[in-house]
Symmetry: C2
């Protein structure tokens, strides 16, 4: 465990983001974050076979009462049906207000276990143990929990801050290349928001991280976690600077939607979306042309795509003007003057449509 | 609308409790509490036929976009199935973060609409328009929302404070006698917690209130609302003085449970439970014997029961030692030295069992 933890401070709550190596250290960090009551570890069918039992063994070795619950891996599980089953398994053993729910896994496990914790007896203690680059550098931090409903992704959820985020970094070594690269898209985004020195740290660590060097993986996860912690601390309920985290996401969501979710991973779509956001920034005179090349180069370092798939104007516009960030007839785009110069810009429907028709649409 | 609103102050949020007469005034108060976006009014099949359309008409007359959703009246509706249907109806018309959910009805409508508001897009604005004495004097205030699951009542829920509680007092005139009396149990409880002057105000208003005198009904609702607002403001997350509101409830829950929920209303069970709490307080030397007579007399003023049904020792003990307020092998009972002298007292299982066996159990 490092000496200086990254700390999230929401005003009402403070919690650390810790980086640990090994199941025993992960268990000790969970024990410290949730020192009383029983522990219910919720994990998915990909992560559980490798990491659930070692974590439970570590907790039992510390004398803790801990049990595990699992669900089928994948976004398709993030439903009220899965949550209803988890509630009944949580309540099957007379849970009380001293007990803690632990999420062990990627973004889906964190979102769903977090929602279960937020809604069990009006909110019980919750600890995040992220096992993917995406979750360590972004999703596990900030208290957003949620599930999907037929009307859309993450439309049902709650804010519920964890008591700690425990990044068990050796789990990253077993990610496949595409999943790791996808998580790196959020790290690149974080580095661009943070500024040139974090971009430089990423540039130096990226290649070794993709070769599963433990120290380099941790550097990348820390770039994301530190930036996310600082924005969340400034803006708990996502009214201002926290929206910078949507850099690349508005265009990225259109790509994910057009490709039917799954053909492109979220991170791949965000990577191509960041390149588009850089291009749009240049076209409006906010940034210089080399910024686009820089974003492309960062993505290419970890093998992320830099061009969107062929998409019609309707495919580009549809999800953008349906999404929950729209305000009337404009959308707030996240743009940049360059690394360290990210800002939000309300953009009219007409202006964006004309540019997309000229620069992006293939039909 | 009165000049001096009662205000709830949770530290993070401040909101008023207003008393209004007439649908137009209720609509104006909702409009003021939720000045932007669309309004979705959730009501039940008992309340909607009489009050939903007048409220919507009032909102439309003010130029507001408002629509109504309904569910079957009764505690049996307070399930995840009903919530899932309400989510889909809420999302059917592209809700956004400026929109507001309004609960129109009693405790069930408030709990369920509040849970929908708490979980829609991680929490949207919420306004309570209570239409029962129970809801105005207690349930609508304090931000507790929740639903029932097979493992127990209110086990799933969230804290979500309303932007305002608008007590539309003329709706009380149409409550049937038993429902009104049941709500009065919480008013009596509030008066006892608050002290002798509130007990005296209740005594003077009770008979006229039961005859549906509008001014007297409002006096009773205000006794409950003022006390609840003050305790909630001191203790938002229910760790301390807010537990005083459980006066009579530990014994009351055992009565409700033994009678199968429904044979006794919640308020009837609380009334008999308060008499038992007074008797137990006297038996431990905390209060003098006339306190028991005073509690009995207050309940009888509105026709509430003062004796529990015949129940075995197991029936008395079971729910008390399963309930979520238990701490190890003791239970925190809410006792009193008299009006204004309510306090919490950890009580051992053995002590309570022996007293119940001697004083309460019929077999």
């Amino acid at each position: 465990m490092q000496v200086s933890d990254i700390v999230v401070d929401t005003g009402q709550a403070q919690y650390p983001i810790r980086f640990v190596a090994g199941a025993a250290a992960a268990a000790a960090a969970v024990d410290r974050a949730a020192p009383r009551g029983r522990l219910i570890v919720i994990s998915d069918s990909h992560v559980a076979p490798r990491y659930l039992q070692p974590l439970l063994d570590g907790l039992h070795a510390l004398g803790r009462n801990a049990r595990g619950l699992t669900f089928a891996a994948g976004e398709a599980s993030k439903t009220i049906e899965t949550v209803t089953r988890l509630w009944s398994e949580v309540f099957a053993d007379a849970v009380d207000r001293n007990d803690t729910i632990v999420a062990l896994g990627g973004g889906v496990a964190g979102d769903m276990a977090g929602f279960v914790a937020a809604t069990t007896m009006r909110g019980i203690r919750f600890v995040q143990v992220p096992t993917t680059m995406l979750a360590m550098s972004d999703a596990a931090i900030g208290g957003k929990t949620g599930i999907n409903v037929p009307a859309g992704k993450n439309l049902v959820g709650a804010f519920h801050q964890p008591a700690a985020v425990i990044c068990w970094t050796d789990t990253l070594e077993s990610l496949d290349r595409r999943e790791l690269a996808s998580g790196m898209a959020e790290v690149i985004k974080s580095a661009i928001i943070a500024g040139p020195s974090e971009v430089q740290r990423f540039r130096e660590a990226a290649t070794a991280a993709m070769e599963r060097d433990h120290g380099a993986l941790r550097v990348c996860a820390e770039i994301g976690a530190r930036l996310k912690a600082s924005l969340v601390s400034e803006d708990v309920l996502e009214r201002g600077v926290r929206s910078y985290l949507n850099l690349g996401h508005t265009f990225g969501h259109a790509i994910e939607h057009a490709s039917g979710y799954g053909a492109w991973t979220h991170g791949e779509a965000v990577a191509a979306g960041m390149v588009i956001a850089a291009r749009y920034s240049v076209s409006r005179g906010h940034a210089q042309a080399p910024f686009v090349d820089e974003v492309r180069e960062l993505c290419q370092l970890v093998g992320l795509p830099i061009e969107p798939p062929p998409m019609s104007l309707d495919e580009w516009l549809g999800p953008i003007f349906r999404d929950k960030k729209r305000v009337g007839e404009s959308v707030k785009l996240i743009l940049a003057t360059g690394p360290g110069g990210v800002f939000g810009q309300p953009t009219s429907f007409e202006e964006l449509r004309d540019w997309m028709a000229r620069e992006l649409a293939t039909s």
